[in-house]
């Protein structure tokens, strides 16, 4: 498998021999990965492939794993706090303290990253305004839609201007225009030299946004390279098709036939 990007530079994230198991279940199996500055990594895989576990390890949420993870040369097991400072994390599922207002929530986040309020306060206001949440700054988030919460989380993830941004399904719940904004944001951030680790199921977005795609299944990396190089290896087609070739156990077209076949068996009972 090939790696794109500037290999001459030191990697921002270097994962070597990473394994993790929950009891008898091996979730990650000897993963090696080097990620370079300015790369947008599309990290894809079916449910239960080990995506979230990788993300949790990178964010310092899981510390008991085998192997080594270095972020900007810092070992995450030895100094998790230093690594956390460099990383901005946007969790999936829109998890936030909904009884707080966006401003309160972001102030808490800024405080934990030890940002100077004189810098962070105008920054968060500008970002909220840019996302169209200007009128909702002082409202409790329990009334917010999923998309609004996702916007607040995105801001919380980049507020401290991290060099690495980990996005776990960042587009879920966002409306079409916000999706465009976020996609644009991702490529701008990458141009500024930030490294983006993008976890998602949405193949079409991953295909467009990422300049390197890492496909993981059953705890191992199956494919790693630019979309174009993957196409060359697997034969032309969309990322969706490549994904299913590598991960699906059954022929998906047969599955669809079986679904349709279910009507026939009952003798055309449907209207």
């Amino acid at each position: 498998m090939t790696e794109t990007g500037n290999e001459s530079v030191n990697p921002v994230i270097r994962i070597s021999g990473l394994s993790k198991s929950y009891g008898a279940k091996q979730v990650l199996n000897n993963i090696d990965l080097a990620i370079y500055p300015g790369q947008v990594i599309g990290y894809i895989g079916p449910n239960g492939a080990g995506k979230s576990t990788t993300v949790k390890i990178l964010c310092g949420l899981i510390s008991d794993f085998e192997g080594e993870v270095l972020v900007n040369g810092v070992n995450i097991q030895q100094d998790p706090v230093a690594v956390k400072k460099m990383i901005g994390y946007v969790p999936e599922l829109a998890e936030l303290y909904e009884v707080l207002t966006p401003l309160e929530f972001l102030e808490l986040m800024a405080g934990l990253y030890q940002l100077d309020p004189a810098i962070s306060r105008p920054r968060m206001e500008k970002m909220l305004l840019a996302f169209g949440l200007g009128a909702n700054m002082q409202q409790r988030m329990d009334t917010f839609s999923k998309g609004m919460r996702q916007k607040v989380l995105l801001i919380a993830g980049i507020l401290h201007d991290p060099s690495i941004i980990i996005l776990d399904e960042p587009l879920s719940g966002l409306d079409a225009n916000s999706v465009i904004i976020v996609k644009e944001l991702i490529s701008r951030l990458a141009k500024e030299g930030k490294t983006i680790f993008y976890c998602s199921h949405m193949m079409d977005v991953v295909e467009k946004v990422s300049d390197r795609i890492v496909l993981i299944n059953q705890g191992s990396i199956l494919a790693d390279g630019s979309f174009e190089s993957l196409q060359e290896q697997m034969g032309a087609g969309s990322l969706e098709r490549i994904f299913s070739q590598l991960t699906a156990t059954d022929n998906l077209s047969d599955t669809a036939s079986e679904l349709i076949g279910a009507f026939r068996k009952e003798g055309g009972a449907h209207e």
Binding site: S52, L61, P91, L93, Y97, L100, E104, L112, Q114
Partner: protein
């Protein structure tokens, strides 16, 4: 933050220098604690959790609520000083109450306030060191404890200062502090036990069950205790007569107030030992397990479990639906309501306490009939019409509580299935819902009441039972027509306003009571009862026909 939280915050942060020496980051610690306290204020407490009719925006003084309730419990605890013959008995009973109430209050609050699975997602990825997190959590727990303990002890402190002297108050405070430590031990042990025997995923719903059980227990205890023993007997009672009390913690705490100082030593050793066990063994494992609580997709869903029991359960429910419903739509409404009511945690939290209250009431009245009145020679429920009618008309209260809640759900948006399905009128769905609720929440009690009726009065009771149950079917049908033309699980849980609902509930009681009183007047005239049964039956038929014809515009959508 309100003033009390601000005061606690200030107190908690006084030894900031010390925290820094322990390796915590002062500003981060203060920030986390401050926001945790702010969030406590905005979150409903134990008792508000079960009430769905709160306005979310309105819950901003939750800590005052918690403290008021703790104060109220503290006042109730003063009953201890009216029971028994000597000081050691008073204090032993007081500390039993105190330990129980404190553990119970804390365990139900711990889930929502102190154990927030979102912390793993939100706080842990932030550059904050472990010491800071740990200290923030400990301080938060301490503040929370004080918010409950201080008001709970206050009435006793005032009482002791008036009736005894300052020395007793001081000893009492020391004992109470030790007792609080022991309560923390109890809670931790119980939590760990729960987490050991079950998966973290089920942990939350078990805590929900515990909360329901706790409320029923409190209600039952305050119902039963004053009745159980006559007051004169209580006042001659002394714990010293029973040697085994020396092995119970409440006695140690009481003895450290009343008796020798060496009891204080026993209490201190016991409490500190329990704290040591918590810190050394329980807490670390607890935190490990807790970290898994927030896990999402990765926590492998156990698929195999339940399928067997669910299959058999749906089997008999389907047979029941076959008997009780006509048509596929009504059947669908029945089956959906049945399953949703059984499985939805929010619904159970709101309705099951009512079941508990009614059951407690049932048990008490039956107990009085069977055991007590027999001795005193009175006739009681057994002989009187009012007693049996009371039970009959009371038996639909659980149903009333259920129909009040069945339309409210957190996942109300999923009710699009009703609106998008090609159903010309929602009447059959509502009728199916009504029947499911009646079958689930009224039928079992009706069977019990019938059994009691037969046992007490023999077959002559049949016409009156028929009239009673027919009236209840009528009342429930009318209730639905008047008030609850709402599809099951179709409305947001916090939309309804509290006062309106309370008045409606009151109205239903009056409504129900009016039928009961009317029934009481005809009770002794079998012919009139039989004619009433026929009339009531016709009315039921008409009302249920009308329900089946409810049209879309009639259904409440907000």
């Amino acid at each position: 933050m309100n003033k009390i939280s601000a005061l606690f915050f200030w107190l908690a942060m006084l030894p900031a220098k010390l925290y820094e020496q322990m390796g915590a980051n002062r500003s981060q610690l203060a920030l986390i604690l401050r926001y945790k306290l702010i969030m406590d204020d905005r979150r409903p407490n134990t008792f508000q959790q079960t009430q769905v009719n709160r306005k979310k925006e309105g819950v901003s003084r939750a800590t005052y609520g918690t403290m008021l309730i703790a104060l109220f419990m503290g006042l109730l605890n003063l009953i201890a000083f009216a029971m028994g013959a000597d000081d050691i008995t008073y204090f032993t009973i007081y500390f039993s109450f105190f330990l129980f109430l404190l553990s119970a209050t804390l365990i139900s609050d711990f889930t929502s306030v102190l154990i927030d699975p979102r912390d793993t997602q939100i706080l842990l990825p932030k550059p904050v060191n472990d010491r800071t997190f740990l200290l923030a959590r400990i301080l938060h727990i301490m503040v929370h404890l004080f918010r409950v303990i201080v008001p709970m002890l206050l009435p006793a402190i005032v009482y002791l200062a008036i009736e005894y002297n300052l020395a007793v108050v001081i000893r009492f405070l020391i004992s109470a502090a030790l007792a609080s430590l022991m309560a923390i031990f109890f809670i931790n042990a119980l939590y760990l036990l729960i987490i050991r025997v079950t998966t973290p995923e089920r942990f939350k719903s078990i805590i929900a069950w515990f909360q329901i059980g706790f409320m029923i227990l409190i209600y039952g205890a305050y119902q039963v205790m004053p009745r159980a023993t006559a007051m004169e007997n209580l006042q001659q009672f002394t714990v010293s007569d029973y040697s085994y009390v020396r092995f119970l913690p409440p006695y140690w705490f009481a003895a450290s107030v009343v008796h020798a100082w060496w009891w204080l030593l026993v209490s201190s050793i016991a409490s500190l030992l329990s704290v040591w066990i918590v810190v050394r063994y329980l807490a670390p494992r607890f935190n490990q397990k807790l970290a898994m609580l927030g896990g999402s997709s990765e926590s492998l869903v156990s698929q195999k479990k339940n399928t067997g029991s669910l299959a058999s359960e749906t089997g008999y429910v389907k047979r029941l639906a076959g008997i009780l419903t006509a048509g596929t739509v009504e059947r669908a409404g029945f089956l959906f309501t049945w399953k949703w009511a059984l499985r939805n945690r929010g619904f159970r939290m709101r309705v099951y306490p009512a079941i508990g209250y009614i059951l407690v009431w049932f048990v008490i009245s039956i107990y009085r009939n069977v055991f007590q009145l027999g001795e005193s020679g009175e006739t009681g429920l057994k002989g009187s019409a009012a007693g049996l009618l009371g039970l009959i008309y009371l038996s639909c209260f659980i149903f009333i509580s259920a129909i009040q809640q069945i339309s409210q759900a957190d996942e109300y948006k999923a009710s699009w299935i009703f609106y998008s399905a090609p159903v010309s009128a929602p009447g059959p769905i509502l009728l199916g819902m009504l029947k499911a609720l009646l079958a689930q929440f009224f039928l079992p009690l009706a069977i019990v009441v019938s059994g009691l009726g037969f046992a007490w009065k023999g077959w002559v009771v049949v016409p009156n039972l028929l009239l009673g149950f027919s009236n209840i079917l009528l009342i429930s049908g009318l209730l639905l027509l008047i008030n609850y033309k709402k599809l099951p699980a179709s409305l947001p849980a916090n939309k309804a306003d509290g006062t309106g609902n309370f008045l409606r509930g009151l109205l239903m009681l009056v409504f129900n009571g009016a039928f009961g009183v009317a029934h009481y007047f005809v009770y002794g005239f079998p012919i009139v009862v039989l004619i009433s049964v026929v009339l009531s039956g016709v009315a039921v038929w008409l009302v249920y026909q009308r329900i089946a014809r409810i049209s879309w515009p009639e259904v409440a959508t907000n």
